[in-house]
């Protein structure tokens, strides 16, 4: 892949995931506002998401979108404020993507499993 093509696709991935994340964040904010009434407990969280396939799917899309979205923004920042080369920033992007995926799915799948 040419660097021009890679650049365009990275940009596009960030924008497409941004649109998906906008929907996810609106739902997330609504859940936060509703859940915070009367305090949050682990029991409440498990009662809502445990064993729920719709919530499993929702949070999976959320985590995957963030994992693709955030590294591109981080890459821009590193490229603009540091002298890291293209290869270095790509490795950092990949590492952040994997970190978000692993930590995110650990929480999402863990909480889903508690309801089974």
């Amino acid at each position: 892949m040419t660097s021009a093509r890679a650049e365009i696709l990275e940009w596009l991935v960030q924008r497409v995931t941004a649109a998906i994340l906008a929907v996810c964040v609106i739902v997330h904010l609504a859940v936060i506002v509703i859940a915070v009434q009367g305090g949050v407990t682990s029991k409440e969280i498990v009662a809502r998401v445990g064993g729920s396939v719709p919530w499993l799917l929702f949070y999976s899309v959320f985590v995957v979108s963030v994992a693709l979205h955030a590294p591109v923004g981080l890459r821009n920042i590193l490229r603009e404020y540091t002298s890291f080369g293209r290869r270095t920033t790509h490795w950092i992007m990949a590492a952040v993507c994997v970190l978000i995926l692993v930590m995110g799915f650990r929480a999402v799948i863990g909480l889903y499993g508690l309801g089974a």
Partner: protein
Amino acid sequence: MKAHRNHANYWAFALHRLSGVALLFFLPAHFYVLGLAVEQAATLDMFLSWTEAPLVKLLETGLVILLAAHMTGGLRVLAIEFLAWRDWQKSVVAITGGLSVAAGLLFLLNAG
């Protein structure tokens, strides 16, 4: 703020970048704490009761505002890039700011 940067759209960019970085740093902590539910529910509940403290609630409100600001600011960027140009850019910035603060207030009022 340097003179050439002192206009609404630049402030919107600065807030978008700052909120993005802040959320990226918050995310691993968020996932870690949620992961506690699986094997250490007691620790998670201890943590959750800690978040009931007024100061922590205020910090959480800040997070809600940052999340709402990054989301509304991101929609603003998408509108600039994918829709026909509109001349009311400054109003859009004001609306995104207003919505973000409103989200924070909504959270704070319900947390009370």
